[in-house]
Symmetry: C2
Subunit: 207 residues, 2 copies
Amino acid sequence: MKMNKYIIPHKGKVTKEDRQKLKGHKSVVLWFTGLSGSGKSTIAHALEEALYERKIHTYILDGDNVRTGLNKDLGFTPEDRKENIRRLGEVAKLFVDAGIIVMVAAISPYKSDRSFVRNLLEPGEFIEIYVKCPLEICESRDPKGLYKKARQGVIKNFTGIDAPYEEPENPEIVIESDKESVEEAVNKIIRYLEEKKIIPKEENKNA
Amino acid sequence: MKMNKYIIPHKGKVTKEDRQKLKGHKSVVLWFTGLSGSGKSTIAHALEEALYERKIHTYILDGDNVRTGLNKDLGFTPEDRKENIRRLGEVAKLFVDAGIIVMVAAISPYKSDRSFVRNLLEPGEFIEIYVKCPLEICESRDPKGLYKKARQGVIKNFTGIDAPYEEPENPEIVIESDKESVEEAVNKIIRYLEEKKIIPKEENKNA
């Protein structure tokens, strides 16, 4: 902490730009929306792995860490879904401010809720990724057995069964997860991030 | 994304330890508690600046970015204060999982609320910093004019005036902000982080 007394040491608060500079890339929200079983979390985790290899600083907000913690007081009524998305959006904004590329994997079925989050952020910081997959295929995957319970009426207000999913109109990226592999999806998102100069292009590794 | 097909590429999810490794240090919560005007935010911001110079990845959660966003639906009744701290704790936990040293500057007057947050985290991850300062001095500083309004009865439930502040019993660090300078406080916290091997010791810069 020794400082030259003729140099003003106080440059002011550390900013979002400072934190991005330390990390070597910009920070954005990658918002994965789509039906349960469409592959949002799978793609997000594979993407995180690929970005980690490139020393990109990421974090994933999804049901696993948010529904069991911050949002454990919320259910699945339209009001609670709205509050769930509001809080996810506000927390994602904090992560962007911290310089992190934050991925949110949430069904987020309502356009108005996704728009709300987009408007919380600066232009270009909210990247909506629509993980598109026909309901029949999501239902046949049924990784958590939720569709079965929804059909039996054990779970109410289940998106695609007895609650609506409003498709994005102008998402930045569309992944058709019944046609594209996880690796193809990851590559598509990485190319987008490179083109928008959010992350640096990978150096040519050929020796 | 080209991979040698004889090497198993899928190492599984990126973990908290992976993210810490990328950043070059461990992640913890530095929880600043104390009266309004005690200097919590000032010390946190000065500490962030000093840590940034050492390439430590930090973020600050305080009234400026949380009360106006995530927690803008909350007031200052005991119930709302409790929920305010619960959410701050849950968000701080996410930042620790992301590999960040997260500082929370919040009056957080109730022991039970601070204990709740401590119990959300792994042992050693919650570092309680009591910014201790006599009420009369905080009140004479009154940086936001809040004590004046509380004395006039314009603000109700103001900590130290008509709402209690429960002192920490075993905080990891105590800063007596009426006796120690901001620089001394910052150095004390940095020494603690070094001793606990949360951040690396600074390399000797003598040429």
